[in-house]
Subunit: 403 residues, 2 copies
């Protein structure tokens, strides 16, 4: 059997996720890891989940343990529409598709929109899992530079113009508007409008990926792309960061004609998202435990973010040319080292110092940036944040001397 | 926005699943439905799941509610390997990938093996969800006729010869060896050997889909394709029929080089299968509840099968040219009406008689067969089976008179 020829072209190009492989390296408990995007387990509402899961098992097992509808549990879809409305986004439950977290949403976007060679616009940097999903359908992600306010509309306009001229019309513009992963930046309302204008003029879809939106620590909410342009925006949400990741639950919201097609795709992909997990989550939301828990999570992560920023000031502010983002929410900040330094090369030295990050190069569709690293501040304890940033400080100072 | 042009070619050809749309029609409680492939809810081990889920929440929430490994929970993978060994299939836990039930396994098979236009071999008839999964990657399923012993090796040999001559070498042969869905037939050992011989000679992979294997009511187990040819067989299993479908759990087993690629694909598809559901299932297996429950499930379905077969004798045996399969296990039997009758045309009359089936035409990759219907005997109660088969009898007799 010629194994290589047996695979489809899309599978021959597949690579393992850098982050998931890195996470294996960091399983040593002595290593302080800022690498993963893990929520803090102390935020998981264990009692409330236990109460809800017992209720589901004693009162509705015949439905919750059976096959469910592809679209998702109607009660949960109503809850989600209500949550979206409370967040300023008018939402109809029938335009919600419950997904196996937002990664499945991204996979579906690739599946229904990208023919081999089709282009789509992503940030420079952007979420690694999106790149992987789009690449797995042989889509070509074209990067547009971010600044402190997210994707730059001037460069976006240049890029779509160039692609149109080359006959490589992009299928969609992928944005992470709130507390960007990995960059930690947020797109202000005015810039959202500019991006929507460019999308509407060109007839492009916008894919709005907003897993961290409810985790804001400072500043005020920007309106969602969905609320501003429901005709041309598909939004992806997840419970992974606001409730817990272990249920693998998320949802997609968009116009009928897209959601319909996603439902058809999902029938062939897994028939339905686990009804048991959906029923539990419905009861957790109905009990008010999600909302209550979120307040505590926001307070916890806000403290950790504050602490990481102040530790960075303590240990790294003296390095000329260094900079880092000051995210208003989310899980990550983005540290850029002085010219000439290389976070890929430094990674193994970091592991020796017993601290881990994700090298920035993992987050680029095209030419890499080797000066950056992503730091997560949700998972490590306060003590670990202090010690871990100190270790990064030591490492960078050492490398600065030897470089 | 030109909506049609925005979709990828693979999405433009997507259709809603006939079965899932039919199931919506049959939600009227007065209709006795033999249409779905639902397990009986009275087989769900609710207490055991409650005990296991409380244990998971109180003892291991920090892991079970967090992200998990893409490959799956190591404890569950060990359980599955042990189950496979007990079934005569030597199995290494590291060659197991836990999936979102076996539908995700089928989707992955399409994703990693099928380029647009690539062919694969399926039965005539075959599982609708497999057709949907393969079609969603623009694969072309080529049907090979079944008889009472499953896929016919002589016709398989002819078909691969013809395809090779046309330069359309098939990527894999998809078989449902045990209690076929929808046909209800099982492939005997000697014929399995013949199919393996053809696959090895041509260098084709065999995809063995065996969701019902543990549900045998009569006769003795045939060896799995996996046990006979581990070098060229990828096997797909699911918990949906042997435990419950609402967790959406299944697994794939195969050679390293395939499982590795599936793991890469899964990283971009959903990162991991719900760790919570995996942990509960591990404890349900460890407690012995799966094995104990299976004995009861087999006893229940065996009675229902027996009953359906005797009701068919009572109400339909007098019709000249009619026949049905007598499955040794599984959930379905396959009824073929006399020449000239059409189960698609009859479907709405059946709904008026308040009984539902799936028209056989749903299960064909190419030219349909319009004389058949799939009947499920796992879900309806004994009383419903008697009444429902009677209604089918009335319907067929009526149509026979008017046709």
């Amino acid at each position: 059997m010629d194994r290589d020829m047996l695979f489809a072209a899309r599978a021959r190009g597949m690579k393992r996720s850098v982050i998931r492989e890195l996470l294996k390296l960091t399983s040593n408990p002595e290593i302080i890891s800022f690498a993963g995007g893990l929520p803090a387990p102390e935020t998981f509402p264990v009692s409330e989940v236990a109460i809800a899961s017992n209720r589901v098992l004693w009162e509705e097992a015949a439905q919750a343990l059976q096959y469910g509808s592809t679209e998702g549990d109607v009660r949960l879809r109503r809850d989600l529409a209500a949550m979206m409305k409370a967040d300023g986004t008018p939402a109809d439950p029938s335009n919600i598709l419950v997904t196996v977290a937002s990664q499945q949403g991204l996979d579906m976007v690739g599946k229904i929109f990208l023919d081999p060679g089709d282009t789509c616009i992503v940030g420079r940097p952007t979420y690694l899992g999106a790149l992987q999903a789009f690449r797995s359908y042989q889509g070509v992600s074209i990067g547009v530079e971010l600044d402190d306010n997210g994707m730059r509309p001037d460069l976006l306009a240049d890029t779509v113009r160039r692609l149109e001229a080359e006959g490589r019309r992009p299928k969609f513009i992928y944005v992470i508007p709130d507390f960007h992963n990995p960059a930690g930046v947020t797109i202000p309302e005015s810039r959202r409008r500019e991006i929507i204008r460019i999308a509407r003029e060109g007839g492009y879809l916008i894919v709005e990926d907003t897993p961290y939106r409810q985790l804001r620590y400072t500043g005020k909410d920007e309106p969602t792309f969905q609320s501003m342009a429901p005709d041309c925006v598909l939004s992806l949400y997840t419970f992974s960061k606001i409730l817990l990741p272990g249920f693998r639950l998320g949802w997609a919201y968009g116009p009928d004609w897209i959601i319909d097609r996603m439902v058809m795709a999902k029938q062939g992909m897994d028939l339905c998202t686990p009804p048991f997990n959906q029923a539990i989550t419905h009861h957790v939301i109905a009990s008010g435990a999600l909302e209550k828990g979120l307040k505590k999570t926001v307070a916890l992560y806000s403290r950790r973010r504050e602490l990481m920023l102040s530790c960075l000031d303590n240990h790294l502010l003296d390095i000329p040319g260094i900079k880092w983002t000051k995210p208003e929410g989310g899980l990550f900040l983005w540290l850029t080292l002085p010219e000439g330094m290389n976070t890929d090369d430094m990674f193994h030295a970091a592991i020796e110092e017993k601290v881990a990050y994700v090298p920035g190069s993992a987050f680029y569709a095209d030419e890499d940036d080797h000066r950056s690293m992503r730091l997560n501040f949700s998972y490590a304890s306060e003590a670990q944040i202090c010690e871990g940033v100190k270790r990064i400080g030591i490492l960078v100072h050492k490398k600065l001397v030897t470089s």
